[in-house]
Amino acid sequence: MHVIEYITTHKELCWRLTLEHIWIVALALFLSIIIGVPIGIAITRNEQAAKKVINTANILMTIPSIALFGILLPILSLINQGLGKVPAVIALVLYSQLPIIRNTYTAITNVPPELVEAGRGLGMNNWKRLKEIEIPLAVPVIIAGLRTAAVMSIGIAAIAAYIGAGGLGVLIQQGIARVYEEMIIAGALFVSLLAIFVDGGFALLERLLTPKGIRIGRELSR
């Protein structure tokens, strides 16, 4: 296979681009957790606000990724950041909001009310109930949201190569431009494998972070 030959001769390039790709996605994911999870928790206190926030995130999600890059480009070039990693990370953060906010919101609203009541009975205040009951029970669902966000981000980051963000999309972009088949296939292969691995990794994390009690309960009910 020529593809394998290509990969072995361009080992360093592939490795560097993979790391760059992971770096963009990880940074975006980190920022979107910082923004999304608090919003998701905050809107559980007000149903109306929740509806509006989730609808807005839904609309954002509907915007095609290349179009969003296009819209961000002239706006960000006002501060000289139209191309490169900045618009890519901003777009990824915007896209990741829907899965993260929605999952945080549903996870916390789905915590059985009797557990929260029990917490109140134990004399916990609002903050403590959130910290010790609602968030630990919600963590697996929040992780599921992160999983969706991460897989999606990897795909969109590949497209971001066209606005000069680097990452594995560069292999595909250059490959298409040069009609260099091995390069295209290598790029597509690496991006897909990265997405599949990250998906699997988050699935594992989701299982590990499920509180033991819930896991046992689930196994018994099976």
């Binding site: 296009g70 480009l73 969109i156 295209i184 292969l189 991006v191």
Partner: protein
Amino acid sequence: MKQVLTKAYRFILVLILLLGGIALERFGVIEYLSDPYELHYTLSLIGQHMILVAVSMLMATVLGLGVGIVFTRPRFKKYAGLVMYVVSLGQTIPSLAVIALAMSFLGIGFKPAIFALFIYSVLPIARNTLAGITAIPSWIIDAAKGMGMSNARILFQIELPNAMKVILTGFRISLVINIGTAALAFLIGAGGLGELIFIGIDLMRPDQLLAGALPVTLLALLADYLVELFGLFLVPRGLRLKEKFGA
């Protein structure tokens, strides 16, 4: 509280529209589109984009529904888990990778693009059809059997209508993804609105870029909205009522 929130939301919406309008003028999009030649060009690209989406979606819907129905029949039911696994694995593959692979195996032009879009759009439809039909409570089907319905009638009068809501969600997701991915079809020589976007990026011309990016966005939002609106008519009235009353 509710009113304040609604008002604030509306205010923000109006503000965004206003700023958007000013931005359009400033970046020269309005000027770009008022040139009759460019307008005609943009419209023809919109047409091309819609053809790409329509052809691939039609094929994807037929195959997706077919796969979903076949793998819920008793004879093939045992493979449903496997199909579900393959489909969700396929969905993690990035859209650009699918487009690029289609090019390296099938060459450039309209057909490889249609093929890539079609393959990528089948997945959500097939998954949701499968999930929707599987989720129907068995007592509903037992009741239908008890009334002496044939298998075909159970499928068309019980299973599909009951699963319609889930199937429509799959269709909607698929359509929105398809419209976005069709913008990448330009890269393998199939035209579409991606042409304006990518060339605009290469030339650093915000007017041309936005003349491509805005129609794609509007197309996706409109498609999302229309499917949600007209989808309601396909869902049986009983199921619609149930939702209204929050059961």
